[in-house]
Symmetry: C2
Subunit: 189 residues, 2 copies
DNA sequence: GTCTATAACACGATAGAC
DNA sequence: GTCTATCGTGTTATAGAC
């Protein structure tokens, strides 16, 4: 088990607070109080509040980009690829619940790295759309608007961070399986 | 067409800004600038920034509560009720796109009316779960975890505000139909 | 690595003139 | 209904002691 640096501790605590109130509503004093120190002491470890947000968002965004890269490279059916995307979201969200809140809700407060984040997100969505369109073309997937399928899948998966902490009893494989059922196979008989 | 009061104009403008940056990041000076007046002038029409948030969130929350009340009262199948919920979200979101952002993302900044909002939201989710459970009991709906079905449906429907403005070409009936397909009938063949 | 003190500025809101 | 001026407080961040 890797030793956690003070900087990592600060970022982890910040992510927790950002999840509760959002980036803008969390002050450096809030963060310091939660760490049991004074606000000024934070600056011995981090450059600015903005840097904290950047580290949280960009590192998670890269995890998704890497995961998607692995999926698009494999030779498998479109449905199977979509199921791998579901599993990717469950895995990353389970390990980084708090960070997911910033990724979803506070990306617009990125200053220097906003464009880079938007580029990564846009490429991710393009990959999902491509998989869906390929699935429709080879009759794996029903002829429904591909953008609506992507929208429905990604909004559900992106909101998992709200839901996973409440369901710690439910194991990860069971959650992945149920999501596959609901998102891919539908609910009616 | 009803004449819009100055107060309503302020609230409408605030909702637009809250959607872009969130409640906490929007200042009264931002709001005033967008209205073409000075910040102090806002207070001739509204009591506080907090009042604006309250009006936006509570009025929309009540619309959902009323809509759900109509749906639970009708005699129809569970699937048909779920389709009515989809239509309810599409209708309210299409008419109040900006307000939906505050409802989803800024409810935690409600001060006096937070508990009331949470009560309405909780009752709404309970109604959805009840419909799904009834559908499973009478074999209309597959035996999947009812909470995951609700979670998937509601997170997709609650995020519609992000998507509807981008797709103004797509008409409301077509959107409702496609969402019903994806959410209820699934996507695989 | 943490502290106290403080700079420099932004915030919500009010008072009172027009 | 809007303005200017301002109050009191909160904000991020820095300087320098320990």
């Amino acid at each position: 088990m890797k030793q956690e640096t003070r900087k990592e501790e600060i970022i982890k605590t910040a992510a927790k607070l950002f999840k509760e109130k959002g980036y803008s509503a969390v002050t450096m004093r809030d963060l310091a109080t939660d760490m049991g120190i004074k606000a000024a002491s934070l600056y011995n470890h981090i450059d600015s509040k903005q840097e904290i947000l950047k580290v949280i968002i960009i590192s998670i965004a890269k995890e998704f980009t890497d995961g998607m890269h692995n999926i698009t490279q494999t030779e498998s059916s479109s449905i199977s690829k979509l199921k791998k995307i579901v599993a990717l979201h469950v895995k990353i969200t389970a390990n980084n619940t708090n960070d997911m809140a910033s990724l979803n809700n506070d990306w617009m407060h990125l200053e220097e790295h906003l464009e880079y984040y938007l580029k990564l997100r846009n490429e991710y969505e393009t990959s999902v759309i491509s998989i869906i369109k390929a699935g429709i073309a080879n009759s794996e997937i029903k002829k429904t608007n591909p953008e609506i399928i992507m929208f429905s899948m990604l909004t559900t998966l992106r909101s998992l961070y709200l839901w996973i902490p409440k369901k710690e009893d439910l194991d990860r494989n069971e959650l992945t399986h149920s999501l596959n059922q609901v998102l891919i196979e539908g609910i009616n008989i």
